[in-house]
């Protein structure tokens, strides 16, 4: 349930960043191939955008290891404090 709420937020912000509808995403969607025009530059910039939205800081070494949206959501979940209201 908590993961689901966070997933909804992530989909919302990814759509904002890409300025396109990404409501087709599921937790199992591939990070690169499921997003229109996504490449490594966009992925790096998108993580900066998500850092600002969630007030977190990604470990640089994990970004390119996100294979699915679930990987991103679970990693974000691990960064968010209990009091964030999302966990």
């Amino acid at each position: 349930m908590e993961t689901s709420a966070l997933f909804e937020k992530v989909v919302h912000y990814v759509g904002d960043y890409l300025e396109t509808d990404v409501s087709h995403l599921t937790l199992d969607s591939r990070m690169i191939s499921s997003l229109p025009g996504m490449d490594s530059l966009k992925l790096f910039e998108m993580t900066l955008y998500l850092e600002d939205r969630f007030s977190v800081e990604f470990d640089e070494s994990v970004i390119e290891k996100f294979e699915t949206v679930r990987d991103l959501v679970e990693y974000l979940n691990s960064l968010l404090p209990e009091s964030s209201g999302i966990n």
């Binding site: 890409l18 300025e19 025009g37 530059l41 966009k42 790096f44 910039e45 900066l48 640089e60």
Partner: protein, 416 residues
């Protein structure tokens, strides 16, 4: 191989006077200025608080595979891209991937993405290096103007970025002209782009004592005027489709003018100040290239930007070129209307010259009331001047002692 003749078939601009070349020319003729108070940043700490800015509402991004990237580009890239789209649409040329092997792409850029460099440094110091966007470097490197145009049209062709300071745009057009003339390719997109209205630009030019301290946008800058007190920073892009004349005529293209000659010449004796002898030599070489004489030239769109020394050097060079006996050519400048657009200034002068050739009228030098006594016999244009315009010269010059001159003739030429 026979030497090809080169014509201009498309014009695209993004300017402080709008994005329509026709309206731009009307504004030049009517003495309308694109200069106003700085809005891009707070200019209160600078003596100069004026600029010739392009309106933001022109910065539309069309849908396409590179829309995301275009939005992240610095302004000079976006202006160049929009001007290219205007020029290609105007010419009607099929700038698709399958014609790319016949094309060349030459864009002059003087200072590249100074605004993004400056904002990047500020962000780095405020929030740390890891907060910098991966698009920072691609957005500011000078070649990205040409590269985004090539990507936009899927052009696979020679692609050149010319960084020759304020002569860059004229050099780009000249090199494209030479490429078509020698048979290297059939058509080219060429011109210049610049967009550096950012605090560090003002700091740098004020350190050079180059900016006008006047706060009156309707009376500054004053090219060639004896009370000139500096330039105003402008921005924009002007691009052209150049074509082999035979190919253009065969496809029924609308032809604006014929490029007849080009020269570039440098012998840097000072990092910021031109040499009148070398500037005059460049114009002479362009005339030789065109097969015309100075007495054939009807009008000259000069570099003059309102700089005390710089404009004086150009007046000396023009006097040397023309000799004391030839006071006929009408000499004018567009800088009073749109400020100094640096790499784009020569191309913007070319847009003006196309209007002059078409209408047999030379646009006035805005804010020019009277020049120094020793140049008072020169035909400096203060009011719209109706006259026969068959051949025109564009003079450009930049830091480092770089000069570039273009010779352009009407099409069809009267009497041809």
């Amino acid at each position: 191989m026979s030497v090809r003749r080169v014509v201009i078939t498309g014009v695209g601009i993004v300017s402080p006077l709008g994005v329509c070349p026709g309206k731009y020319w009307e504004s030049l003729k009517n003495g309308q200025s694109g200069i106003g108070p700085l809005t891009r940043f707070d200019g209160s700490r600078f003596s100069c608080r004026l600029a010739a800015e392009v309106e933001d509402n022109y910065l539309k991004v069309k849908e396409g595979p590179f829309a995301h990237e275009v939005k992240r580009m610095d302004r000079f890239v976006r202006y160049a891209l929009l001007a290219a789209e205007g020029a290609v649409a105007d010419s009607g040329i099929q700038a698709a991937a399958n014609t790319g092997d016949k094309a060349g792409l030459y864009i002059g850029v003087g200072m590249g993405g100074l605004p993004h460099i400056e904002s990047g440094v500020v962000k780095q110091e405020d929030r740390g290096p890891r907060r910098i966007s991966p698009y920072l470097i691609p957005s500011l490197i000078p070649n990205m103007a040409a590269s985004m145009i090539a990507m936009d049209y899927g052009l696979s062709c020679p692609q050149y970025t010319i960084a020759g300071s304020c002569a860059s745009g004229s050099q780009a057009i000249g090199l494209a002209f030479q490429g078509i003339r020698s048979g290297g390719f059939e058509w080219a997109l060429a011109g210049g782009a610049e967009a550096v209205i950012t605090p560090i630009t003002f700091s740098g030019f004020e350190a050079l004592r180059a900016l006008s301290p006047s706060h009156h946008p309707r009376s500054t800058p004053r090219p060639f005027d004896k009370s000139r007190d500096g330039m105003i920073v402008g921005e924009g892009a002007a691009l052209f489709v150049l074509e082999d004349r035979v190919s253009a005529e065969a496809r029924g293209a609308n032809i604006y003018a014929e490029l007849k000659g080009y020269a570039t010449w440098s012998r840097g004796s000072h990092i910021a100040l031109q040499s009148p002898d070398d500037m005059a030599n460049c114009m002479r070489l362009a005339l030789v290239d065109s097969g015309l004489r100075d007495s054939d030239i009807d009008c000259i769109y000069a570099q003059a930007s309102g700089l005390k020394k710089g404009d004086g050097v150009e007046l000396m060079a023009l006097k040397s070129l023309l000799g004391n006996g030839n006071t006929r050519p009408a000499i004018t400048s567009i800088k009073g209307h749109i400020g100094h657009t640096f790499a784009a200034s020569g191309p913007f002068s070319l847009v003006a010259l196309l209007g002059a050739l078409r209408e047999n009228l030379v646009s006035p030098t805005l804010n020019l009331t009277g020049t120094e006594k020793e140049y008072s016999d020169m035909n400096l244009v203060r009011q719209p001047l109706p006259m026969t315009v068959r051949h025109g010269l564009i003079n450009s010059a930049g830091f480092g002692g770089i000069n570039a001159s273009l010779i352009v003739s009407g099409y069809p030429l009267l009497g041809e």
